[in-house]
């Protein structure tokens, strides 16, 4: 079965072509859930049958890749249905470019997951930037142009630095007279012999480069603008899909440094970046008046948590891998319900959004529960993974890191709480009652499913998912 990797990558891209050709503005969005269903079925089938994961050239599905493939596929599956409801509401606009780019985006994200070649992975991640730019620009307001411009420029520069880092890493192996293939298998295999100065510089450049794409502070500046102006469904796919792809890149590079015996160096940098991202996110979340920008800073925070856990190694890695799943599901709830709230009030500022639970009982309630989940309260998924990371910090004797982690979580809880409660409580303004927007099945049900998954992961982690996380964490500790 050589075809599986190609099917997963090429099917969405093929459907993007179909979306380009289809004339009907109302029928076209249905390609999104259709592709989502096919992609999810193929993904589950691949995960269930190890013989389907056989490597094809540069396309290899490593254990962390399996986990992230599942996350991306789930995110797209649920967001696809929501997108149909959203685009119906925006029926007066042509959604040809939007639908095509969204579909191709899924294909390219899948390529990032499968590509086990440093260069190919770079090409795929750069392609995701280009495909998401038109998605952020969908509303065509001056503000969305500004957001798209900043996104393109900051991410292009970041990605360019990642390319330089990839070259440095290649040179680290060429310098030692090793056959410098850019395949991760070879890099991991040769890791202990890589030239150390080049490896160190390469790691910094790659962390800055792919960290820009993840939205780690201080390279996060594009994030509040882009997430603030993009439609909610795009925000969900960026925060739960694309950032995880960039995290996968960081994770693979980190793995090379671990295999080279340089964990102390790279781990320290990751912990530092993680704490910095959390503190920057905390500063901007306290007193934040814009709901979507608040979610963007929350994404900065959680990307920080991911690299922090990874940098600690051991149990911390396990927690970070579980957290990427929890964060994605909960971000799905938050971004999609925030999109509904925005449409009901024609605003995303808490100056105008009040009483969301009365105005939109379903979306408002889910938004509130999404907030409770993302800030790490039991019984939701993020609680389990954040608790694991704190435990890892204290068990490994990193008391300062663990203490700061808890402090930042508390500050963020209070800051985010102020904004969210102001939005959901109270009475809806008179102006918002004049807007006819109501929750519909397509824009409500996917959000509820995301919420259910976030709750499920907090109560009980299903066996297959636990196995995926275990295998990925084990893989990162060892050298193939």
């Amino acid at each position: 079965m050589i075809a599986m990797a190609f099917a997963l990558i090429l099917f969405p891209i093929l459907m993007a072509g179909v979306a380009m050709a289809l004339p009907g503005n109302r029928t076209r969005p249905w390609l999104l859930p259709l592709t989502g269903v096919v992609h999810l079925v193929l993904t589950l089938w691949t995960l269930a049958k190890p013989e389907l994961q056989a490597p094809v050239g540069w396309l290899v599905l490593d254990p962390p890749g399996r986990l992230i493939l599942l996350v991306i596929s789930l995110m797209f599956f649920l967001s696809g249905f929501y997108a149909v409801g959203y685009l119906r509401y925006r029926g007066e606009w042509s959604n040809r470019t939007f639908t095509s780019c969204l579909l191709a985006f899924l294909g390219v994200m899948t390529l990032v997951v499968w590509s086990h070649h440093l260069g190919l992975m770079w090409v795929a991640i750069e392609a995701t930037s280009l495909l998401t730019a038109p998605l952020i620009y969908f509303n065509r307001t001056p503000r969305s142009i500004e957001a798209t411009w900043k996104y393109l420029l900051v991410c292009s520069v970041g990605i360019a630095l990642a390319l330089l880092g990839s070259f440095f890493l290649a040179y680290a192996s060429l310098h030692e007279g090793l056959d410098s293939s850019l395949l991760f298998e070879d890099l991991l295999h040769h890791a202990p012999r890589l030239s150390k100065p080049w490896l160190h510089t390469a790691f910094v450049l790659l962390l800055v480069g792919y960290g820009t794409k993840m939205g780690l502070a201080p390279m996060h500046t594009w994030k509040p603008d882009a997430y603030g102006e993009a439609p909610g469904v795009v925000g969900a796919l960026l925060a739960g899909g694309l950032t995880n792809c960039a995290f996968l890149a960081v994770l693979r590079i980190y793995h090379v440094t671990v295999a080279a015996g340089e964990q102390a160096y790279s781990g320290r940098l990751l912990i530092f970046m993680g704490l910095l991202s959390m503190v920057v996110a905390g500063i901007f979340m306290v007193g934040q008046r814009d709901l979507k920008r608040m979610l963007a800073y929350s994404s900065v925070e959680h990307m920080g948590i991911l690299v922090l856990g990874l940098g600690m190694g051991g149990l911390g890695t396990w927690g970070a891998l579980l957290h990427l799943l929890n964060n994605a599901m909960t971000k799905g709830v938050l971004f999609l319900s925030a999109g509904n709230i925005r449409r009901a009030y024609d605003s995303k500022s808490i100056a105008e959004v009040t009483g969301a639970m009365r105005r939109l009982p379903l979306s408002g309630t889910l938004f509130l529960f999404g907030f409770i989940a993302i800030t790490g309260s039991p019984p939701f998924g993020p609680f389990v993974s954040e608790f694991t990371i704190v435990t890892a910090a204290f068990q490994s004797g990193r008391y300062v890191t663990g203490g700061l982690f808890l402090l930042f979580l508390l500050v963020i809880f209070l800051g985010m709480g102020g904004t969210v409660l102001a939005a959901v409580q109270g009475r809806p303004s008179g102006r918002s009652r004049l807007i006819p927007y109501r929750d519909t099945f397509l824009t409500g049900a996917p959000v509820a499913v995301f919420m259910a998954l976030s709750l499920l992961l907090g109560l009980w982690i299903p066996g297959p998912i636990r196995a995926l996380v275990d295998q990925a964490a084990h893989y990162l500790e060892t050298r193939p």
Partner: protein, 213 residues
């Protein structure tokens, strides 16, 4: 390794300084086109023996960096009807001096990194790092959107110079992918530049300031 490499790199560095000091954006774009064209020759020179694949990379680089991208940018400028960069946050002369300093800094930095025997004594690493830094200076100090795109291109050129150390190691598909991404990237960026011009009647990025805390 051919003895022509170093003279070409020196010319590339001089073009960097020239680009930093010029206030006419059209001239800056032409300078970058010339730089791209010069860089396109490098893949042929770094190889021990003549091959068909380096020739292909070389032709594509000259076509893309030397002709197509400058042409796209010049057209975007004509449509936006702008000619000159406004006074940058760091003036033209100070940024030229910064550019010159970046060369010295890169030479020092490059000495810290061990080189393989075949690459000893070549200017590839310092000129690559210096070009990357010049790209950053351009990106951060200029206000017009087009100038910032040019800064990004200079940055890319710097990375391309480093890539010359890896010509034999890099698979052709990756080289082509990088070039394709660059092309599509510039294409998308010029579309956005066009929209900025329509929405704000200007390409001054200081007008893009609605989104902030």
């Amino acid at each position: 390794m051919s003895s022509l490499i170093d003279p070409i790199l020196v010319a590339v560095l001089l073009l960097n300084i020239f680009a930093l000091g010029n206030s006419r954006i059209t001239s800056v774009i032409r300078v970058i086109g010339a730089q791209g064209g010069l860089l396109g020759v490098l893949p042929l020179l770094v190889q021990e023996h003549f091959g068909l694949l380096p020739l292909l990379v070389s032709i594509l680089t000259v076509a893309l960096k030397g002709l197509i991208i400058p042409f796209m940018l010049l057209r975007a400028m004509r449509e936006a009807q702008i000619r000159r960069e406004v006074e940058p946050s760091v003036g033209f002369l100070p940024s030229m001096i910064l550019g010159a300093l970046s060369i010295g800094f890169s030479v020092l930095l490059a000495q810290e990194l061990p080189m393989a025997k075949a690459h000893l004594g070549l200017l590839l690493v310092p000129s690559s790092l210096s070009t990357v830094l010049v790209g950053f200076i351009m990106l951060t100090t200029r206000y017009k959107a087009i100038s910032q795109v040019v800064g990004y291109l200079i940055l890319e050129n710097g990375i391309f110079i480093f890539g010359m150390l890896l010509v034999e190691a890099m698979p052709l598909m990756v080289e082509l992918g990088v070039l394709l991404d660059l092309f599509v990237g510039i294409f998308v960026i010029t579309i956005i530049v066009n929209h900025i011009n329509e929405a704000f009647s200007s390409l001054d990025t200081r007008k893009l300031s609605a989104l902030k805390e």
